[in-house]
């Protein structure tokens, strides 16, 4: 085990200073190859696995020194990014100092607490998700490994409807409401300032008790901006899949409902 010849305290506060001499102070730094944005847990895992450390008995002093050395040499300039690394550094140092307590910490039942326990659990869980991410990456993925048909011409006997019926119908219904209200075409005075966000809230409130028809939702509004804003709010809620838009029959009424309501009903 190498001697720690620098104080961890000054290392952290000088994090952005590249000090090449530090590297020579830890001669047996393992060969850890880092991408530009390797996460703190990645660095720790690589250090532990490459050096075949016992993850259930991590030599904290060594690991902390190596970790600090690595983040030093990475010279992370982005404060947001480097912040994450510094938080981990301070966690490691805090754990290290807790390990040095003359009397071990004891839980309610009188068992000794290993301060490293939480970190180890997190490392193990994280390591599993890294492996899962790799296996996800190996699945045949659409647009990378497999491709599907993206245009749909059928035999001449089939005339495929032009576009998505629901959106068309949604917009058609909207223009229909406009016409019915006989809104002057050139009316452009819009003093009332409405936000899409407010309208989203309004729509969600009205859907709490169950599904409502589009006409119901649009009925209380009286001018063009309100309709446009409400429509945008609907589209946005739909896009985020918070609501569902359902039309059972062609030119039938369009029903809106909360996505999770349907999910609950399906259960």
């Amino acid at each position: 085990m190498q001697k720690e010849s620098f104080t961890t305290h000054s290392t952290v506060s000088n994090n952005k200073v590249i000090d090449a001499s530090l590297e020579t102070q830890i001669p047996d730094l393992p060969p850890v190859a880092l991408d530009a944005f390797e996460d703190p847990l990645d660095i720790l895992l690589q250090l532990i696995r490459k050096q075949k450390m016992d993850i259930f008995d991590i030599p904290l002093a060594t690991l902390t020194a190596q970790y600090l050395n690595i983040i030093e040499s990475q010279a992370l300039l982005d404060i947001d990014v480097s912040g994450e690394y510094l938080v981990m550094a301070s966690t490691l140092m805090q754990l290290k100092s807790r390990m040095l307590l003359p009397r071990p910490e004891i839980d309610d039942e009188g068992n000794t607490i290993d301060p490293r326990e939480a970190l180890v659990a997190q490392l193990l869980a994280y390591e599993q998700y890294r492996l899962i991410a790799e296996s996800l990456n190996e699945l045949p993925r659409m647009q990378r490994d497999v491709f599907k048909r993206c245009v749909f011409p059928e035999s001449e006997q089939v005339e495929r409807p032009l576009a998505e019926a629901d959106l068309d119908d949604l917009l058609a219904a909207f223009t229909h409401v406009l016409k019915r209200m006989k809104q002057p075409a050139r009316h452009r005075v819009m003093l009332e300032s409405m936000s899409v966000r407010e309208q989203m809230q309004y729509v969600l409130e009205h859907l709490q008790s169950g599904s409502r028809s589009l006409t119901d939702i649009l009925a209380p509004t009286h001018h063009r901006e309100a309709w446009v804003t409400t429509l945008l709010a609907l589209l946005e809620l739909w896009r985020q899949r918070i609501i569902q838009v359902i039309q059972n029959a062609e030119s039938g009424s369009i029903m809106l409902l909360l996505s999770n309501q349907e999910a609950e009903e399906a259960c």
Partner: protein, 178 residues
């Protein structure tokens, strides 16, 4: 082997794929390709999907005799405009005149030509020129049809762009709370 390669290319292609294009990609000679296409045509002649020669290219299409079935499919479920198409339309509406590269930059993912041609076909988007940069990319804008379909009188009737920014901020702001 060649037949399988052709099948994959034909299924994935956005336009009827020509013999020349196949030759370029597969580095094969014309006559082997022609032979192979003939074999494939026979192979699919009795299937529900057919290999058809259309507009100087090859494409898979449903067999004509199953047209009533396919129509039934659309009766119960109308074809959908994808979310990506809707989003692209919104970007074009607010950013016009704009290019595919700009749309891609905003969406952060590739915008396929089938998506663009879908919007063009639907009549909501039109090509209004070419940008004077290398490659001379198309410049897109929304059409009259778009305005009329969305019940808008003119483009400045589109809800304020500041509201749009508002809209895009919602998920992000909400997330910050977590």
């Amino acid at each position: 082997m060649l037949a399988q390669q052709l099948e994959a290319l034909i299924l994935a292609s956005e336009i009827p794929i020509s013999l020349e294009k196949m030759r370029d990609i597969l580095a094969t000679d014309r006559s082997s390709l022609q032979l192979c296409f003939a074999e494939l045509e026979v192979f699919y002649a009795q299937r529900g999907i057919r290999l058809m020669h259309i507009a100087d290219g090859w494409q898979f299409r449903t067999a004509p005799k199953y047209a009533p079935l396919v129509l039934q499919l659309w009766q119960t479920r109308a074809p959908k405009i994808s979310r990506s198409m809707l989003e692209t339309l919104a970007i074009i509406a607010y950013q016009q005149p704009t290019t595919r590269a700009e749309i891609e930059a905003l969406r952060g993912i590739r915008v396929s030509s089938s998506l663009m041609s879908g919007l063009l076909e639907r009549g909501w988007v039109k090509i209004i020129g070419r940008k004077d940069v290398p490659g001379r990319p198309h410049i897109y804008g929304t059409s009259k049809q778009f305005l009329s379909d969305f019940g808008l009188n003119a483009l400045h009737d589109l809800p304020d762009a500041s509201q749009l920014v508002d809209m895009h901020d919602i998920p992000l702001k909400e997330m910050e709370k977590i």
